[in-house]
């Protein structure tokens, strides 16, 4: 770096955005090294909203947050599931070492209740992670949620469909999730604070089915090659 630039930086006459962001909130590693690298070593943004855009369940979207959930369980923080599309399965969560007495499922009737509940969870100091499955959300609603998230130190995650990736969103981090080969999860960064978007990485998620050798299926072909229908 030229001497001139160094002088400017030393005199603090230049404001460097990424440093500011990095130190505003303590880091929250994702538990996946490849993903941490893509996110600029900050991990999940705390006190901010994360959007995950995906079209299908069962591609490893919960597995992505499992290391975070496990850590929060150790710290006795609550994990809220707001309007999950299916049932979070208690035996599987317990097996993964998640303290179920701090896992709360909430169901809301309308959008007003949904936003209100999510805001309250995001602001509360006892929450660690809030995962929400909203239906349609206006951009100003997401803005409202982002502001609520900034009032707390929680990780707030919205799971939405991929068609919303075209839309503008005030969320601090936007990820697009797709299934990749070998049961991996392909994560593309659409937007992140203090850095450029466009990175993507594939995370190994094969262990979610309990198998540790990802390449060789234990059943080469199904016992009933053509299932009914």
């Amino acid at each position: 770096m030229s001497e001139l630039l160094e002088t400017l930086i030393r005199d603090a006459r230049i404001w460097r955005g990424h440093e500011q962001i990095r130190h505003s909130q303590p880091e929250q590693p994702t538990g996946y090294q490849a993903l941490d690298r893509e996110l600029g070593d900050t991990g999940w943004p705390r006190g901010a909203l994360t959007e995950c855009l995906l079209d299908h369940y069962g591609i490893g979207e919960l597995q992505l947050f499992l290391p975070l959930m496990q850590e929060l369980s150790r710290r006795d923080k609550a994990i809220f599931w707001l309007n999950p599309p299916q049932l979070p399965y208690a035996p599987a969560l317990a097996r993964e070492g998640i303290a179920l007495d701090r896992v709360i499922l909430a169901r809301t009737q309308d959008t007003g209740d949904f936003l209100w509940t999510l805001e309250n969870c995001l602001r509360s100091p006892v929450t660690g992670l809030v995962m929400a499955w909203p239906g349609r959300l206006a951009s100003r609603d997401i803005r409202r949620l982002q502001l609520a998230a900034e009032a707390g130190t929680n990780v707030g995650v919205l799971f939405r469909e991929r068609r919303y990736s075209e839309h503008n969103s005030p969320a601090a981090l936007r990820l697009e999730l797709e299934a990749d080969a070998h049961q991996q999860l392909k994560v593309s960064v659409l937007k992140r604070r203090g850095g450029w978007p466009g990175q993507h990485c594939s995370l190994a998620m094969a262990h979610r089915s309990g198998r540790h050798i990802p390449d060789t299926p234990s059943i080469v072909q199904g016992p009933w090659a053509a299932p009914a229908r």
């Binding site: 597995q63 049932l87 035996p91 969870c121 509360s124 299934a179 059943i219 199904g222 009933w224």
Partner: protein, 470 residues
């Protein structure tokens, strides 16, 4: 012994006016609804006087709000007053309909002096916006008579109270009408003149009861008083002169009774987690609301916030004429632990209870659930939903097999041929003992979009998806 008598000259009026301070002229009528017995200052300005016929009063002020006095209601309000007085004095006796008797002689040392005690009581009365006339004397009956005369003062001087008593006209002495007339015919005007009569003659010429009464006033005959015991519950009621149509109009007076509750809980050194609120309507059945907190609570502000949330969810169905708040469940307070030296962390348990109570108040009790594993081999029975807040002991799940993180509420039929089969079969055959029989072979399969599904085949050969490895 020194007795204090507090006479509330217009208790019902005070009670209603503090619930709705900004109403217009207000009058209390007798049980028959014919005569005005109490009138608020506003009504008095318009010329309405106690004793006036209701028709005349309505002629003077057509917008007059009228409350009919009922003995039951007055007694209840009086008991509410006994409640707070009990915090200051141990031996108290409610004297229906509008008096409270308290033994204060034994309190002098505790408060330092009688004046200090009176200051405390005066402040308590002021906080509750109550008018009370005090009277002190060495017998309960004398204190009562002095207080009711309205000239009483707070002093422990026996001679002074005797002087006040003897000045009292016979009509104010609480004697029955016949005796009163007979004494007046004898040319006696004040109570002092009756005291001067020889007692044996008094009993012979009038009645034994009259003598007993005089002796009780003077203290030559015992007049035992049974002390009142506060019930183990909290109860307060708000009565409105004008129907309240909006929630805002309820919240303001509720704030006052909630601070009363806070003071009561503080005094008991207890907490509660359930308030019962009953709103009465003129023509409809009362609305009963249960305000629950997920943990012990005593702060009026927290209760008010919850009540506000409940009202947001459930608007008033009809105008409200009275509100009744009661608390029956009391929990012992626990010393907060885990606070750091500067108290900056707050109590995480408290924050947790606050959050859960808030969510439950707005969403309803059933909106929040927790999940626990159950020891069962059938996937749909291997977990259970519980309401939040119930302590449950951890049940170990059936160990072994790997399970998906998502379970479908109902198995869905598999609409495509899986791309790859990853593991299986795992046969689950159970439930022959309780009628919910399950006979399935489970596989883990990868579908076309890369999802890992937990699929099973039933004995009929049909394929279903039962979960996703999310």
């Amino acid at each position: 012994m020194l007795w204090l008598y507090l006479h509330f000259p217009h208790l019902l009026l005070d009670h209603i006016r503090r619930a709705q301070p900004d109403t217009g002229p207000l009058a209390i009528t007798d049980a028959g609804g014919q005569k005005v017995i109490q009138a608020c200052p506003h009504a008095r300005d318009l010329g309405i006087r106690p004793g006036m016929r209701l028709k005349t009063a309505l002629g003077l002020a057509p917008e007059l709000a009228i409350i009919r006095a009922s003995d039951h209601q007055q007694e209840r309000i009086l008991e509410d007053q006994a409640f707070w007085l009990y915090r200051h004095a141990a031996h108290i006796v409610p004297v229906p309909p509008d008096g409270l008797l308290a033994e204060v002689g034994s309190l002098q040392r505790m408060y330092g002096s009688l004046d200090a005690l009176w200051k405390v009581l005066e402040q308590a009365l002021q906080e509750r916006q109550l008018t009370a006339w005090p009277g002190t004397a060495h017998t309960p009956l004398a204190a009562c008579l002095i207080a009711r005369s309205g000239q009483g003062e707070f002093c422990s001087d026996k001679a002074r109270s005797l002087h006040l008593l003897s000045q009292l006209p016979l009509t104010r002495a609480g004697l029955d009408e016949r005796t009163c007339t007979r004494l007046q015919r004898l040319g006696l005007e004040t109570l002092g003149q009756v005291f001067a009569l020889p007692q044996a003659e008094l009993a012979r010429r009038l009645s034994r009861e009259t003598l007993m009464r005089v002796q009780k006033i003077l203290g030559t005959r015992a007049d035992p008083q049974t002390p009142w015991q506060p019930p183990h519950r909290f109860r307060q009621q708000l009565d409105f002169a004008q129907d309240v149509e909006r929630v805002q109009g309820l919240l303001f007076p509720l704030q006052r009774i909630l601070s009363e509750l806070e003071a009561d809980l503080h005094w008991r050194q207890q907490d509660t987690d359930c308030l019962q609120l009953s709103l009465r309507h003129r023509h409809e059945q009362a609305t009963r609301l249960r305000i629950r907190t997920s943990g012990p609570e005593h702060r009026a502000e927290a209760f008010l916030n919850l009540i506000r949330l409940v009202f947001e969810r459930q608007p008033l169905k009809a105008p409200v004429i009275s509100v009744h708040l009661s608390v029956q469940r009391f929990l012992d307070r626990q010393i907060p632990t885990g606070q750091d030296l500067l108290g900056q962390n707050g109590d995480p348990d408290e924050a947790w209870h606050t959050l859960v109570s808030r969510l439950q108040a707005r969403l309803g009790d059933n909106a929040l659930t927790q999940i626990v594993p159950q020891p069962d081999h059938r996937p749909e029975l291997a977990w259970r939903a519980l309401p939040v807040g119930h302590r449950h002991k951890a049940v170990p799940a059936v160990p072994g097999a790997h399970r998906p993180l998502w379970l479908l509420p109902e198995p869905q039929s598999l609409g495509e041929t899986p791309r790859a089969w990853l593991s299986g079969p795992e046969r689950i055959q159970a439930g022959w003992w309780d009628g919910q029989r399950v006979h399935r072979d489970y596989y883990i399969a990868q579908l076309h979009h890369g999802q890992l599904a937990w699929v099973f085949r039933d004995p009929g050969g049909d394929w279903f998806v039962h979960g996703w490895f999310g």
